[in-house]
Symmetry: none
Subunit: 227 residues, 4 copies
């Protein structure tokens, strides 16, 4: 399951070994230097294979990255679903999925940054983050986090916000924090993760009590001032 543990033996009898080496090298380097900042020759060197060899496994550089993204993204999604129980309470399901993102990012920093790089590139403009949780085999059914939100709204435990906003409130802070963590700006201990997850829940949960507070809105989108 862990991609990095493939180093079984020094001999190259392992089927697909080279392919894996190439994939690892690509993820690592592109996560750091980006698509255009990572020459094929660098990938070949990091992978310990000849440059020409890469073209035996992938048609060209674009295909290489696209295929790797598909695979990594799929792994990522499946990781999230591991231990997921659709019958749990809304909040538990929410926390489960979001914690999964946290953990995945911390444990797979290269893959995490690779995915981010991809979404920030022209490639990722069409595909969008909303599809982050699309099913791998693509059965077409609604995605887990969306299901949670929909169910939560039906039960009136989650705010009546557009889906995109809910996703942003849930995922935005996590991506942000994981990046900082990978950059070494913060050491994410379990307490911080838990508290942050709880805070994310606070952001989206429908509050019932009297401490709701309206937002003052000085109509700032339009440039004309009110008298």
């Amino acid at each position: 399951m862990n991609i990095h543990s493939t180093k079984t033996s020094p001999t190259q009898t392992e089927t697909g070994s080279k392919r894996e080496l190439i994939i690892h090298a690509t993820i690592k380097l592109i996560s750091e230097y980006g698509f255009h900042g990572t020459p094929i020759s660098m990938i070949a060197q990091e992978a310990g294979v000849g440059a020409g060899t890469i073209y035996r496994y992938f048609k060209d550089k674009d295909t290489l990255v696209l295929e790797i993204f598909t695979q990594v993204n799929c792994d990522f999604k499946q990781t999230l679903l591991h231990g997921y129980d659709a019958n749990q309470a809304i909040r538990d399901r929410f926390i489960h999925l979001c914690r999964g993102i946290f953990l995945y990012g911390i444990q797979n920093p290269y893959e995490f940054k690779f995915i981010e790089q991809f979404y920030n590139s022209p490639y990722g403009t069409s595909l969008r983050r909303e599809k982050l949780f699309c099913n791998c085999g693509d059965t077409g059914q609604a995605l887990p986090l969306e299901q949670v939100f929909a169910a939560g709204q039906a039960q009136q435990v989650i705010k009546e916000l557009p889906l995109a906003a809910l996703i942003a409130l849930a995922i935005g802070p996590i991506i942000f924090l994981v990046k900082d963590s990978i950059a070494g700006l913060i050491q994410l201990d379990e307490a911080t993760i838990n508290n942050t997850l709880a805070a994310c829940w606070d952001a989206i949960q429908q509050k019932t009590g009297p401490n709701r507070q309206p937002v003052v809105t000085p109509s700032s989108l339009s440039s004309e001032e009110k008298p």
Copy 2:
């Protein structure tokens, strides 16, 4: 500082001189394709100038981008501080700053994505997002959002989370949503903005009432259980 004397020339497209044309083209293209994905020749074409002309205004490509970033980032920060009153309530100040990010992103999509690209590039690894709100002239004092958080924690209206986490909870969702908005995935009306801002506040505010709920933590970072 401006090479051209900005005299309003008879021709009409002349608005802002070649330097401005180059800057605009650079922001637009790099915001979409990134630094390495944007050749100088492409910038020249988009700006409608000769490639050599760019080098009359900027020493090299690096300088071009760095100078533009400095300027754009400065504009951005000053926009945020416009109308900001440090004597207002914590929540109001928080909402003011965060709304500013929203509005800036919506009104200046290229600049917004350009800043994002920059922070995600090797350039931006040292500079970090935490410094997003640093002062332009750099008086050295604590940054506005950090001040709000510090003051809020002192007043016990903001959660006791690490600064990085608070920033993530505040800014993460906004960046995420603005990107989706720029990508055309969501139409951000004022209600959505306001509600999202309120939700961000919910994420960081210290709750006092009885509806606090602990997070179940299945100790997922380390494999060994704590007794």
Copy 3:
């Protein structure tokens, strides 16, 4: 006569002033960096004029250099003839001309190196050093040094060597030494100059005494060894 002494006044009323400034700058820079290593812009800056101005005085860069060479070379030749008396003894005439080269090189290092640069460039391949002493207005008559050599051979005071060889023996050492002097590798005092000139004369003079010595010539041009 000295080109460098044109700095009469700071005001630019001096007719032809700009032209002279350009010529000075060109000689200085090309003597140091060579033709391809000296951009027009650098010449303009050194001369303190606009780049476009150079094209008011010279058609293009090639013409600029060619014209300057012609002028400098002419000045050089005329300098050599200053005080020259065709009625003096062969040796005196020889020494006079050769000393002139020495002095010219030491007093006009930029011009000297400029001429050298020119001869080492593709330009100078057609023109050749044999024409170093050609007449300025080109009256077609034999050149001074050649006349000296011819007269000397007629009087049997100069060796029966090809003209090119005599010129090489006379001028080669001087050029070599002046270059070293300009490079700061040797301080040329008058004694050294005089002694070197005397040595040059020794090289070409027809020896009459018994201390003539044949050269052992192991036929080295062809690769086959003698048995």
Copy 4:
């Protein structure tokens, strides 16, 4: 050191591998046009290789030229020492070394001019011609020609002139003549070479007989006359 294994391949032009082709082309073109006057593309074309290929063998243009110079200069020096016997008479040793320069220049015109170009370029300003005869492996001991001069002066067969002057008198004419020869201005037969070498010896040898003649020196370097 040689990338290619120099195996004699079936094709015929393959002599010397791409690296050699590049080196030859570089020497030929730079000897004619100089460093700045010789684009990489021209070298590639002359060598019959792709421009990119050059960079497989040399880091950049500077390295290309520097490496070639080192090699050519080393070859040159070793050629001079071939058959050299430090126990011979001063004059014989002198003639041997100087003849070597002659022959090398005639047989390797491109290499000869390449070396000249190099010494006349900004590169060669630090390295100087005086080091022309430095040892390849650089044992640090005095250079052959200098040794000859020193020994000759000790034996009072060579004039008491500064070393630089002696070198100039010895080498200057040869370089001059070889250049003319390469330019096709003179056909150097063995007699001319031998006689020129003898003349060079005449220039530096300490004369003992009565035909020494003082030089009239009209104090030309400084304007003030000595009393």
